[in-house]
């Protein structure tokens, strides 16, 4: 999946990936896609929940040998 920016959260555990996502997404123009890299299994459920709570768009997740790439579009 294509992304306009990447946030590397490898090696970081909850809540750091979503705390950093919350900060990083504010720096993106509305409509752009942020790719978040994480090796914390929790991200599979954490990110959709975060998107639902904040009104951002959850685009999907790619899993590759314990490494997750999660895609979020800034909607507001």
């Amino acid at each position: 999946m294509q992304a306009d920016a990447t946030l590397d959260c490898l090696g970081l555990y909850c809540p750091m990936p979503i705390v950093q996502t919350a900060q990083r997404i504010k720096e993106l123009p509305v409509g752009e896609v942020l790719e978040v890299l994480s090796d914390d299994r929790g991200i599979e459920k954490d990110m959709p929940a975060w998107c639902q709570a904040t009104g951002q768009e959850y685009l999907g997740l790619e899993k590759n040998a314990g490494e997750y790439r999660v895609y979020v579009r800034r909607k507001k």
Binding site: L12, C14, P15, I18, V19, A22, A49, W50, A53, T54
Partner: protein, 154 residues
């Protein structure tokens, strides 16, 4: 979301601040009410600034404040367990309690310190870290708790 922080133990404080930070990152308004032993989590790392009598002075010695002095609720093992846990956290690149506290304040979490506990323990406003901006009682806290969806007692 509101949290009553009653415990002054490191593991409980870590869990508390992890949740508070996650909630703030999700756009929730978070208020933390520190009472009793929970006051130790947000005190400066030292004894009482103005102990008003002998009992308070004794309590100050036995109950030093500050996030750096907190112990695990289990397996403290005279401080060894706590040191080991901090070592593990560093190894796993987890933020320390002090970092989680700063992060919470930076994300707009409200810190309220319970005035009743403060008086009982002989503390004053100067004994607290700058992140604590409000000193109030149960009614003030409950006023916020009533409006929230989630309330936790730790």
């Amino acid at each position: 979301m509101t949290l009553v922080v009653f415990s002054g133990e490191l593991d409980k404080a870590l869990a508390t601040f992890n949740i508070a930070n996650a909630a703030a990152a999700m756009g929730m308004e978070v208020t933390m009410f520190f009472t009793f032993w929970g006051l130790n989590v947000v005190r400066k790392n030292r004894g009482l600034s103005k102990p008003k009598d002998f009992m308070r002075r004794m309590l100050g010695w036995m109950n030093p404040g500050g996030a750096a002095t907190l112990k695990l609720s289990k397996l403290n093992m005279m401080g060894i367990g706590t040191r080991m846990m901090k070592g593990l956290m560093k190894q796993e690149r987890m933020p320390s309690l002090q970092e989680l506290i700063s992060m919470a304040a930076a994300q707009g979490v409200h810190f309220i310190a319970c005035t009743t506990s403060i008086n009982m323990m002989g503390l004053t406003e100067e004994d607290f870290i700058p992140e604590v901006k409000e000193f109030a009682g149960a009614a003030a806290f409950l006023g916020e708790a009533r409006q929230g969806h989630v309330n936790l007692f730790i």
